[in-house]
């Protein structure tokens, strides 16, 4: 009986999450999609490394950290752009976006250097 109820609870939880998520603004959804994409790319690289071995290790790190880094920066952007976040009320979203672009460019310079 407990199991059946937990199953039902899981289903209800999932539906409510889905509907709540539909209410988020578009720009946040775009950022979430971006984060998902980059993490997925990282996962594919890890699977590849698991198959063929870690030579050359620097390239592997470079690739994975690029994805992870850009995901992290996107998360930061999401936090700063989110209107419900009272902490960043005074920060214009264009400014946050400019920071995101700049940090990404620096990250990718380092990544390209380390790629070898």
């Amino acid at each position: 009986m407990g199991r059946a109820s937990s199953k039902e609870d899981a289903g209800t939880l999932f539906h409510s999450l889905r509907s709540a998520y539909a209410a988020t603004p578009l720009n946040l959804k775009i950022i979430d999609l971006y984060v998902g994409f980059s993490i997925f790319t990282a996962l594919i690289q890890v699977v590849y490394m698991a198959i063929v071995g870690s030579f050359p290790f620097n390239s592997f790190l470079s690739g994975v950290l690029s994805c992870v880094g850009t995901a992290v920066l996107a998360v930061c952007l999401r936090i700063q752009v989110n209107k419900e976040n009272k902490e960043f009320k005074d920060l214009p979203p264009e400014r946050a976006f400019a920071d995101f672009v700049l940090c990404n460019l620096v990250l990718h310079l380092v990544i390209m250097n380390f790629l070898g």
Binding site: L26, K29, I30, L33, Y34, G36, F37, S38, F40, T41, I44, Q45, Y48, I51, V52, G53, F55, P92, P93, E94, R95, F97, A98, V101, L105, H108, L109, M112, N113, L115
Partner: protein, 719 residues
């Protein structure tokens, strides 16, 4: 013992109340005996050296040393020395040498600017070369020399001028040359003498030397011969005193040779012992020639001087050669007692070959001695230092060869090193005055012989019982190939007997057995002896560790050797198979054998470089597949964007911000393209440079478009 007596005397003196010193008779006898023993030991210890008379090796050396340099000698002095040496050694006059000498002599004699020194040596050389001198020239010489005598102030001035006059008097039979004031000249020269028998060179120079004494004696002898009337005998007697005082200053080497030497004060003036002694002898002989009566020179001192000159051997320098030969010629000149030298053609005698002891007695130049007998008065070895091993016996004289021979060595002389003592006895009484032989001559003799090696055998014994396991007789004179087997519980015994030709026991310097393993590790054992029997016992049980537990074949080699042994041997006896137990963990390893020295410097083994194996790379298809897989999320992102319904509504419409916007996106694209180039071919510095430019551009346009957008949204919010 002497010290004991001395202290006794001293204490007795300080305490007179004790009464007279009374050493008992026995004490005195004991002290004297001890002193005599000391003297005897010292005399035995004194070097027993051998002096050889002048021989043909000297003659050939003279030919080599006295050579003409560009057709003439360097100076008249050297010309004279060469001529005199050839004359003394009895070598015939070489025409080129004589011609060269005559040339320089006539040159010097003819020139009016020649110094007395040049004239002196020219005339000396002429006395041997016998070149003709013109009448006018000789008259000129005589007058210049006389003037030189009158004006002489130093010893050398007198020497050259007086000497020149003596020489020209001998060569020129016509004129009767005399010294004007002979006694005055004599006294002026005598004024340079000193109380110790030495002479000074001049009145200014306080240094005296024996070399100058020799020169002075020659000069004074010349004055005596040139004097027209008899000189005062007292003057000559004082000279004889001076000579004996000079002989008091004679010095001695350990081997009994005597010489005159001066103190080294000034390097320039110093003449070594050879030239000093030679000069003194020359002066002595010259003086003895002009005086009547005996100089009473001690005979043993003359012999000591002769030995000094002979002890030099063959000098390597022309001047030293001249001094030696000239001095020895003075000793043969009959003015002083003629020394007789005892020499042996060979000091190594072989008992087995029955060599006889041969002794030769000659003058210093090797000419025959008067009738005499040579006696062997004693033979001493290191074992019997005091007692002679032989009784006094006379050696037989062989007329044909001129040698005194002792045909068979006495029975008491076995192999080894001995000191033989000889005594020379002149047979005619009048010869005692003319010749001097010395008291006793000691000579080191070395006797060798074939040593008999007998009863040589090698045996393997069982350790506990001592029973013989295997036995092999060895023939140490011939080839041996003994092949033995042993294990570590057994013993090896090598034995042989050594006997001298006289039948006594003999202990050689070397008696070794060497065992060499196949791996070149060697072990050497000394064979000990008791009397004639030599025996070596190797107990393998105790030697296991010394052999480093190496089992296998060992080559055996025996060495028996000594200087007195004519048949010293180094023979391979054979080999022995040793069975030793296994080495325990902590056993010492045998030392590394020396590497062949030539291989160390030869080419080394070639090194082939092993390159690092390249890492295994995955197959290309797999990599490409995953490249495709990586693109998938990007596609997913784009599709998601489309599904979400993204639009470009917020893109600015006004031209300026629009351009900024376009340029912003283009700038980002350019930066990403730059990164691709960076990965492909650029290096970091180039990239950073480009990035600097692009970055500045991007900041401008970005700022432009974003500020426009921000203004627009702010307006919208406020509105």
């Amino acid at each position: 013992m002497l010290a004991d007596i001395c202290t006794r005397c001293l204490t007795a003196k300080t305490s007179p109340q004790k009464g007279r010193i009374s050493l008992t008779f026995t004490e005195m006898a004991r002290s004297l005996a001890g002193f005599l023993v000391l003297v005897l030991v010292v005399s035995i210890c004194e070097g027993a050296s051998l002096f050889q008379p002048i021989s043909d090796s000297h003659r050939s050396a003279a030919l080599e040393l006295f050579t003409l340099d560009h057709g003439s000698f360097e100076s008249l002095e050297e010309t004279y020395e060469a001529l005199r040496t050839f004359q003394i050694l009895g070598m015939e006059k070489k025409p080129d040498v004589t011609a060269a000498a005559c040339r320089s002599i006539s040159e010097t004699v003819g020139s009016s600017s020649s110094t007395p020194k040049d004239l002196f040596y020219a005339l000396k050389a002429n006395s041997i070369a016998e070149c003709k001198i013109h009448e006018k020239a000789s008259k000129g010489i005589i007058s210049s020399l006389n003037a030189a005598v009158r004006g002489a102030s130093s010893l050398l001035d007198f020497y050259y001028s007086v000497g020149g006059l003596v020489l020209i008097k001998d060569q020129n039979s016509k004129d009767d040359i005399h010294l004007v004031d002979a006694e005055g000249v004599f006294r002026s020269v005598k004024a340079f003498s000193q109380s110790d028998g030495r002479w000074r060179y001049s009145s200014n120079n306080p240094e005296s030397s024996a070399f100058a004494a020799g020169i002075a004696l020659e000069t004074l002898a010349g004055i005596v011969s040139l004097a027209s009337s008899e000189l005062d005998q007292s003057l000559i007697n004082t000279l004889k005193n001076d000579i004996s005082k000079l002989f008091d200053s004679i010095e001695k080497y350990d081997d009994g040779t005597l010489y005159f030497n001066d103190k080294l004060v000034d390097g320039h003036e110093y003449q070594g012992p050879l030239s000093t002694t030679s000069s003194v002898l020359r002066g002595l002989t010259a003086f003895a020639a002009v005086t009547t009566g005996n100089l009473n020179l001690p005979g043993d001192k003359i012999l000591g001087l002769a030995k000094f000159f002979l002890g030099i051997g063959v000098p390597g320098d022309a001047k030293d050669f001249f001094y030696q030969i000239d001095a020895l010629a003075c000793l043969e000149s009959n003015r002083v007692p003629i020394p007789l030298i005892l020499s042996l053609p060979s000091t190594v005698l072989s008992l087995t070959k029955k060599d006889s002891l041969k002794v030769r007695v000659t003058t210093v130049f090797g000419s025959n001695a008067p009738p005499l007998a040579v006696k062997l008065v004693g033979a001493f070895s290191s074992r019997s230092k005091d007692a002679s091993l032989v009784e006094i016996q006379e050696l037989k004289f062989d007329q044909v060869s001129g040698l005194h021979i002792l045909n068979d060595l006495p029975e008491s002389i076995d192999v080894g090193s001995y000191t033989f003592v000889f005594e020379v006895v002149l047979q005619e009484a009048e010869d005692e005055m003319v010749y001097v032989t010395g008291s006793q001559t000691k000579v080191s003799i070395f006797v060798t012989g074939l040593i008999k090696i007998e009863n040589s055998e090698i045996v393997i014994l069982d350790n506990d019982l001592g029973s013989i396991e295997s036995q092999k007789k060895l023939d140490l004179a011939g080839k041996n190939a003994a092949s033995l087997l042993a294990n570590h519980l057994q013993k090896l015994r090598l034995s042989f007997q050594l006997t001298t030709p006289r039948g006594h026991a003999f202990k050689p310097h070397q008696a070794f057995l060497k065992l060499r393993h196949e791996s070149e590790v060697e072990h050497i054992f000394v064979v000990g002896n008791s009397g004639k029997q030599f025996e070596l016992v190797l107990n393998f049980l105790g030697l296991v560790e010394k052999f480093f537990y190496l089992s296998g074949k060992y080559d055996m080699e025996l060495t028996v050797g000594d200087a007195a042994m004519e048949n010293s041997l180094l023979v391979a006896i054979g080999h022995i198979e040793l069975d030793l137990p296994e080495a325990p963990e902590k056993a010492p390893r045998p030392p590394p054998q020396p590497v062949d020295p030539y291989s160390r410097y030869g080419p080394k083994a070639e090194i082939t470089h092993i390159f690092r194996a390249p890492e295994k790379r995955p197959p290309q298809e797999l990599s490409l597949a995953f490249l495709g897989l990586t693109i998938l999320p990007l596609l997913g992102f784009l599709i998601g964007l489309v599904r979400l319904g993204v639009n470009m509504k917020n893109f600015p419409t006004k031209p300026v911000p629009a351009t900024f916007g376009v340029l912003f996106h283009l700038g980002i694209g350019a930066v990403l393209l730059l990164y691709v180039f960076f990965w492909l071919k650029l290096d970091l510095f180039q990239t950073l440079k480009m990035l600097g430019f692009l970055g500045v551009f991007l900041v401008f346009v970005g700022h432009g478009v974003l500020s426009h957008l921000a203004a627009a949204s702010a307006k919208l919010k406020s509105a």
